[in-house]
């Protein structure tokens, strides 16, 4: 078999495709000849880091991915988890970091588009979205532009598509100056007996192209996303795709209508590496070959080459294998929605991926080796060297009230209202808790009581200081945030953002973070059912903070019993559950140190997973028993910030005692883990609360009555009273002032 080569394959061309010399040698060994230019492009698309997980696969396999409720773990477009009553929640988180830095509006928008498509490809109607965004230092010259563009891009796409944004994260740190992170999460509801997969079945069946036409946008995007940035970054703008949420919305409705006809055997959205990746995945998973005829592909530009068609990342496209008898019915659905529908190929029994163009065969490759048998690396990694703990007595002092006001008005803690008011948070009419609390909550449409909770968490400061503890903490915090609403944590998705894995110290971060995630997921019965890895987040050799974002999903049997963070009424006892008896002890890697003293030292706080689980199960039980009137987990800024957030949410103040002889800075700003603040509708002198304390003591859970709600001030121990109105002004002020350009 010979295929003529019009373009000479040079070492430079191979390098430009992100292929290492040894990878190119593997290609030569595999096909026994020089690849064509189109074939080189196909290998580059399939074997890059973004599509093949070649550096991370060995470690990802160690994560717990199964459980009694898990219907589908990693490896499909999204994870699928049983929520009872014949329904499932389908969800995933995915990064769009590199494109969002180059072109923030389109990069972030198409990130939304991609993750939504992953969810509805499986037959689920998207019901909730979140975004975890990380930007550079507020005073970096590009930050405002990136924040503004990314937020507008997410809103522009998600609002038009019609999915409520129920939560997310926004953080700033100079380590993201050259590489921002845009991690998009989406979840959809489906019937458990109507889930659709990408595995093709049956020989000689039509492969059908659906959705938008193919253009030249995004050619080589996945390869770009698998490389570091240098000074030539502006030249990469043409590799960013352009989003069309109107087409995506029609594609959603058309796909769900089509699936209801029973015509769909297999379906795969065209995401990274477009037509190449979707066709290879469907064939490889089904142990089938695929033959594509590019003359049949709907194109929106003339004279597109096979190379461009195979590598285009034009958005809003799907590939399906259909029952031939239902082809006419399927076509009618797409005609109704005015979308392209073209039979572009067929399944074969020869395990080859064959591409035809104007009568020539331009690619003929072994499909299994392209897809699920792509190269895999065991990259070297250095031992983890966790940051040293702070010296005993190293507690930089500041007035507690001043520190609290400063933190509430800081870039880290301040309200994200400026961001989330640009997202439609209530479309579909099921949003029970919108952004600003511990987790977003929606009710399950059509069910009288059931609700779902969603959260996104990671603390990159902790991950940098100690990737293993940081990985554990990210999972624990997600689990904790779900628990704080009263939800039972079901499962999680991970979005692992790291630097260049070819550097052993970066690989070490990845390895140890995954180990930490795995340990926490096992201890908390919180399996990982989907995910995404984004490596090479480096600019000119400097990596980002290691950022393994965890998206968690929980189930509420009755959303009317869920807890919110705002104090509900005056004169209610405030309980601190979990953590050490001194309330706060750990200042290492805290925002108190970083944002008030410019210090990034100390060890990451330790997460005791057994204690975590015990405290969480106890809190969830209390919420479900109906005695809890408000609940909030403690994270950045510790007890002081947690209390302030609860007060700001309702306008009701509180007075909290201090512990005599204990440093109030540690007590109120220490970031010890596994802690919740609750208010209860119980008489602090009564029998019911005594029974609660007895139960906590018997279970070995710290449960201290630390104060009471009431008034319009927040009083922390012996420090001066701070009006809640002042805290609120500080909290609401930072973001709009910053974006107006007046602050930095």
């Amino acid at each position: 078999m010979t295929i003529p080569n019009d373009i000479v394959i040079t070492p430079q061309l191979i390098a430009d495709h992100g292929l290492k010399p040894e990878e190119y040698q593997k290609i030569l060994d595999l096909i026994g000849r020089e690849p064509t230019y189109t074939e080189l492009g196909i290998f580059s698309a399939m074997w890059n880091e973004h599509c093949s997980y070649k550096s991370s696969k060995k470690w990802l396999k160690t994560l717990p991915t199964s459980g009694p409720r898990v219907i589908q773990g990693p490896g499909e477009n999204a994870g699928v988890v049983d929520i009872g009553d014949g329904q499932a929640i389908v969800f995933k988180m995915e990064s769009h970091n590199h494109p969002s830095f180059i072109e923030p509006y389109q990069g972030a928008g198409t990130g939304m588009g991609g993750i939504l498509r992953d969810v509805f490809t499986m037959g689920a109607r998207p019901v909730a979205a979140m975004n975890a965004l990380r930007f550079g230092s507020p005073d970096h010259e590009k930050t405002r532009h990136l924040v503004s563009g990314v937020v507008a891009g997410i809103g522009g796409y998600g609002n038009a598509f019609g999915v409520p944004t129920v939560g997310g994260e926004v953080e700033f740190d100079e380590r993201y100056n050259g590489n921002i992170l845009v991690n998009a999460f989406a979840a959809g509801l489906a019937d458990t007996d109507k889930i659709f997969y990408s595995k093709a079945e049956g020989v000689g069946l039509p492969v059908v192209y659906l959705g938008a036409k193919t253009g030249r946008d995004g050619v080589g995007g996945a390869t770009m996303a698998s490389a570091e940035f240098g000074d030539d970054i502006e030249e990469k703008r043409p590799t960013v795709q352009v989003g069309d949420p109107f087409t995506e919305k029609r594609l959603l409705e058309a796909c769900l209508e089509l699936m209801a006809t029973g015509a769909v055997i297999a379906i795969q959205d065209m995401g990274a590496a477009g037509l190449t990746c979707s066709a290879v995945e469907m064939g490889a998973k089904g142990d089938l070959g695929i033959e594509l005829d590019l003359d049949k592909v709907p194109v929106r530009e003339t004279h597109m080459t096979p190379y461009e068609m195979m590598l285009s990342e034009s958005q809003e496209r799907m590939l399906m294998v259909l029952h031939p008898a239902k082809e006419a019915e399927a076509r009618a659905v797409f005609v109704k929605w005015e979308l392209d529908f073209a039979t572009v190929g067929k399944t074969t029994d020869d395990l080859r991926f064959r591409v035809l163009f104007q009568g020539d065969e331009v690619a003929n490759l072994p499909i299994k080796e392209l897809g699920d048998e792509a190269p895999e690396y065991d990259r070297p990694w250095t031992p983890s060297v966790p940051a040293a703990p702070l010296a005993a007595g190293d507690v930089p002092q500041m007035d507690v009230a001043d520190a609290l006001l400063a933190l509430m008005g800081s870039h880290q803690v301040s309200s994200r209202r400026w961001v989330y008011e640009q997202y439609d948070t209530l479309i579909q009419g099921n949003s029970m808790q919108r952004p600003g609390g511990d987790a977003g909550v929606i009710r399950v449409d059509g069910h009288p009581t059931k609700g779902l909770a969603f959260t996104s968490d990671v603390n990159p400061r902790y991950c940098e200081a100690d990737p293993f503890e940081g990985g554990k903490q990210a999972v624990a915090e997600a689990w904790r945030n779900l628990t704080a609403t009263g939800a039972e944590p079901l499962a999680a998705t991970d979005n692992l953002n790291f630097g260049n894995p070819e550097r052993p110290e970066i690989m070490s971060q990845l390895v140890h973070a995954i180990k930490g995630i795995g340990e926490a997921c096992k201890a908390l019965d919180f399996p990982i059912v989907s995910g995404n890895v984004s490596l090479y987040n480096e600019t000119n050799g400097r990596g980002i903070l290691p950022t393994p974002t965890i998206g968690g999903v929980g189930l509420l049997p009755d959303w009317s019993q869920m807890a919110r963070i705002g104090f509900a009424a005056a004169n209610q006892p405030i309980l601190l559950i979990g953590g050490p008896a001194e309330r706060g002890t750990h200042l290492g890697q805290s925002i108190y140190l970083r944002d008030l003293f410019g210090r990034r030292d100390g060890s990451a706080p330790h997460v005791d997973l057994a204690a975590e689980r015990k405290a969480g199960d106890f809190v969830r039980g209390l919420i479900r028993s109906g005695v809890v009137t408000a609940c909030h987990d403690l994270s950045d800024g510790g007890l002081g910030v947690g209390l302030a957030e609860m007060a700001i949410a309702s306008g009701i103040g509180a007075a909290v005692t201090g512990i005599a002889g204990h440093d109030p800075v540690l007590e109120f700003f220490g970031e010890d883990q596994g802690r919740y603040l609750l208010t209860v509708n119980l008489d602090p002198q009564g029998d019911a609360i005594k029974a609660l304390w007895d139960e906590a003591r018997d279970k070995g859970i710290a449960c201290a009555w630390i104060g009471s709600t009431g008034g319009t001030d927040l009083v922390l121990g012996g420090s001066r009273a701070v009006p809640v109105a002042d805290l609120k002004a500080a909290h609401e002020g930072w973001f709009p002032t910053y974006m107006d350009g007046a602050a930095a």
Partner: protein, 222 residues
Amino acid sequence: MKSAVIVFPGLNRDRDMIAALTKVSGTAPAIVWHQDAEIPDVDLIVIPGGFSYGDYLRCGAIAARSPIMDIVRARAASGVKVLGVCNGFQILIEAGLLPGALMRNTSLKFVCREVKLEVTNADTAFTRGYTQGQIIRCPVAHHDGNYFADADTLARLEGDGRVAFRYAEGTNPNGSINDIAGIFNEAKNVLGLMPHPENLIEAAHGGDDGRALFSGLLGAAA
């Protein structure tokens, strides 16, 4: 009372509107696809919110030129009540059923938040569930809700009681002239408004201030 919801491609609050009409009246509305040749015989036609045709031209401009709008115009002329919410309001303006224009918000940003509305004229089929001057809560979610009309038109709207709702207590989210949130046609059987009463009709929404619009219209118990 029977109702119908018109669906154009790109609308996305059709399901919210259908749920509200169904929950308040106990009867599901008829769903009319924009290519359908007829609208069933109903008392109320609703054009819900969203992004018809992606809002890729002026918001609502493409849907307004769809053949189904000729039928909507004819029904409105015959006295059938027509309600347009958000993109539906934009479509009614582009279709010439309501005067003025909806421009980009002065912030130049999409805004989703709760605002306060004053019921400016409670003496209509749409607003009779409210009292004159009542202040209600209502969410907004739009990018182009900044109402504008020339001085003559504005004087007519104000003078003839054709301002239905006004943003109240300093909550105007978009820069609308005279804080206008919703207006009637001359005969007051066509109402267009930017806010989303369909998203605040039950305790689960955190309030039901929007419900009276539907219950008043549909003659159902509030």
